[in-house]
């Protein structure tokens, strides 16, 4: 299984281009996640979408990207990651990539109880031992925090 982060920008919503691109990915049968979507504030503003796609082989993935190119899709996965530096404890730099655990509840005796700790927001910090997930509240001045999704690959098993 191989993955790629794809990006497209333009008049994606009103022109149904995003819908078309997602339909084509679904038709291919590959797993995907709409990783990011920034919708233009006004009708004349463009929107930007990032989609992570998993395909069985690199060739399958390249064939899909080639097919989607005409709609403005391009590959961003091979770009180097970008980091921002923490300047105040517990505060992530602007544009930091964040991870949240999905809202999780447990049914006990007919009552759904929220799982404590799922509201923690995580960021990726590059430290001497390599990149690691750190809760925003534990960030220290000087930490180097991943910005955006460039240079980021997420395994298919991490979609949920």
């Amino acid at each position: 299984m191989t993955s790629a982060l794809l990006e497209l920008h333009g008049h994606l919503i009103d022109s149904l281009i995003l819908a078309k691109v997602i339909d084509r990915i679904q038709m291919s049968g590959y797993d995907y996640v709409l990783a990011d979507l920034r919708v233009g504030a006004r009708k004349q503003d463009i929107s930007i979408a990032q989609i992570t796609v998993w395909a069985p082989t690199r060739e399958d993935l390249e064939a899909l990207i080639q097919e989607l190119k005409v709609h403005g899709v391009h590959l961003v996965a091979n770009e180097e990651a970008e980091f921002g530096t923490v300047t105040a404890p517990g505060q992530a730099p602007p544009g930091a990539y964040t991870r949240h655990l999905p809202t999780t509840e447990v049914l006990v005796k007919g009552r759904w109880s929220p799982v404590q700790g799922t509201n923690v927001v995580w960021v990726i910090v590059f430290r001497s031992a390599g990149p690691e997930l750190v809760p925003i509240g534990q960030l220290q001045v000087g930490d180097r925090v991943l910005l955006g999704q460039r240079g980021l690959r997420i395994g298919a098993d991490q979609q949920l």
Binding site: G10, S15, Q44, V70, H71
Partner: protein, 260 residues
């Protein structure tokens, strides 16, 4: 407009150009003169000319020169090498007319692939000649919303061969040139009573490649059905014979660029 002094078909960059019948230059000239006279005498349009250039047979199709709106012109960057030498001629004429000319970084074929609808948004084609990323430039430069429509037929290679906005929010179009997404976009943005579809046969006669000035609509040999439908909407139909230009894949709209 640009006189057809050097108009001919000696390369094939669309399926219409692959026909066997040669262009009758004299007939083409008479047909072009008739269009120009009708536009100025019947509809009162003021026509500016681009000087014809030997070796540039498609310079006559001025619709592809640029998308013009307000004081700016987004110049064409032709996809096919055969038409790229037209760009400096269109550029200098537009600058001479006082427009600020902007060059796109990607393939874009002017008002052939970008049509102002109802004065409020641009219906733009992509895939055959224009790259979808050029549409962003239209909205950035002109502050207009753009609806990007994929053209999946080589015969309807510019959006102005299969779609024509008319005054009052009316829209003439050939559904067969668009995919299901494009049709949904059109239906979501144009009220049903304003939509006027043409048949495959009418589309092959370039019914959608029409020019509207005032209440007049100029087009190649319209069918009785289409003429009647346009009349019911308050338009006066002026049917023309533009057969020689159809051999190159163009008609009334392709022969004109609306400046204002």
């Amino acid at each position: 407009m640009s006189p057809p002094d050097y108009f001919d078909v000696f390369y094939a960059i669309n399926p219409w150009m692959k026909g066997d019948a040669p262009v009758d230059r004299e007939l083409a000239r008479r047909q072009w003169d008739r269009l120009r006279t009708a536009l100025s005498d019947q509809a009162g349009a003021q026509v500016s000319l681009v000087e014809p250039v030997a070796g540039l047979p498609d310079l006559v199709f001025t619709a592809n020169a640029a998308f013009v709106h307000g004081s700016k012109a987004l110049l064409a960057q032709f996809k096919n090498a055969e038409r790229r030498p037209e760009e400096p001629h269109f550029r200098s004429r537009l600058e001479g007319l006082g427009y600020t000319v902007i060059e796109p970084p990607v393939a874009f074929e002017g008002a052939g692939d970008a049509l102002l609808y109802d004065g409020r948004l641009v219906l733009a084609g992509y895939r055959q000649r224009t790259e979808v990323s050029a549409h962003q430039l239209i909205s950035q430069e002109f502050d207009l919303p753009v609806l990007s429509l994929e053209l999946h037929s080589e015969h309807f290679y510019h959006v102005d061969t299969c779609l024509c906005p008319l005054d009052g929010g009316h829209l003439l179009y050939y559904p067969g040139a668009f995919d299901e997404y494009g049709l949904k976009v059109i239906e979501a943005n144009v009220p049903e009573e304003k939509r006027l579809t043409v048949t495959a046969q009418e589309a092959r006669h370039f019914a959608c490649n029409a020019v509207q000035v005032g209440r007049f609509v100029f087009l190649n040999q319209p069918s009785a059905r289409l003429s009647e439908a346009l009349k019911r909407r308050g338009f006066e139909v002026v049917g023309l014979d533009l057969s020689e230009f159809l051999k190159a894949g163009g008609s009334a709209k392709c022969l004109t660029l609306r400046l204002g």
